[in-house]
């Protein structure tokens, strides 16, 4: 069942993104930014965590999840270490994925070239 919900929820989030892309002047970069901010705001409202619990990868694979993990990191560290946590907590949970993207970007840039 976990696959079905992941497929449906992940797919639907992408459909929303596609509609924004097709019906506005936004580029895909704008849409990605919009989703990250939306994920963050939904986390602030306490709505994204239940979605992740329910849909698993359906909610954690879309880029809105970045907003969720970054905001969750801030909240966690605010609780633990106080005001400094607002900054120190940002990459606590989401840093791994960003580091992975940067590292693999570097690696593949060394190994390959653009094919067009």
């Amino acid at each position: 069942m976990s696959y079905v919900w992941a497929f449906l929820v992940g797919g639907l989030i992408c459909v929303i993104g596609q509609l924004v892309f097709d019906l506005t002047v936004f580029t895909m970069g704008h849409v990605m930014v919009l989703f990250v901010v939306l994920g963050s705001v939904l986390t602030g409202l306490g709505l994204y965590e239940p979605l992740v619990k329910f849909a698993g990868a359906g909610a954690s694979v879309p880029v809105s999840n970045f907003g969720y993990v970054l905001t969750s990191g801030v909240l966690k560290e605010l609780e633990l270490i106080g005001p400094w946590g607002a900054l120190a907590g940002v990459f606590e949970l989401g840093g791994g994925a960003i580091a992975a993207a940067i590292f693999f970007g570097f690696l593949f840039a060394l190994l390959t070239r653009a094919k067009g």
Binding site: G11, C14, Q18, M32, V36, V63, L78, F104, A114
Partner: protein
């Protein structure tokens, strides 16, 4: 014959109205369906990776990080093979919104701009699309996090 600003503006508005009538619309339904299928498939693949880590004994809330790492690698790998841009042309937001799309945006730029050097080319410009995502993600996380902490107490 010199047009006044007013006339010029009216001519522009009139032409843009005309152009809108003749502009082909993106196939909304088809694009949405493809975004759904591609985005859904990538999410389901992510679920597979997540389930694998959980089966290895990781608690579900700790399995998200490594899952993201694996998905990033897959997106990066398909970009390096020159495949992800083809998926993107079909899948649209279905391949851009998942975290594999985020990886694609970094790796595509990194590969592309290495011709302008490994420091100011590849390393500087790999954040062309990912940079805004990170910038707004970080800013939003701090603002939203603080607001929630102050209002709801965490």
């Amino acid at each position: 014959m010199a047009q006044t600003k007013e006339q010029q503006k009216r001519a522009q508005e009139e032409y843009q109205r005309l152009a809108r009538r003749h502009r082909p619309r993106p196939p909304l339904l088809r694009n949405a369906l493809l975004a759904f299928l591609v985005g859904g498939a990538i999410s389901a693949a992510g679920q597979g990776v997540l389930n694998f880590f959980v089966a290895q004994g990781l608690p579900p809330d700790k399995a998200g990080g490594p899952t993201a790492g694996v998905m990033v690698f897959l997106g990066a790998f398909l970009t390096a093979l020159g495949v992800y841009d083809k998926i993107g042309q079909v899948g649209g937001a279905g391949s851009a919104i998942p975290i594999t799309g985020f990886a694609n945006s970094i790796v595509a730029a990194a590969i592309e701009f290495k011709t302008e050097g490994f420091v100011m080319g590849m390393a500087a410009r790999m954040y062309q699309i990912a940079g805004p995502v990170i910038t707004y993600g970080v800013t939003s996380a701090i603002v939203v996090g603080l607001l929630r902490f102050l209002i709801a107490g965490g």
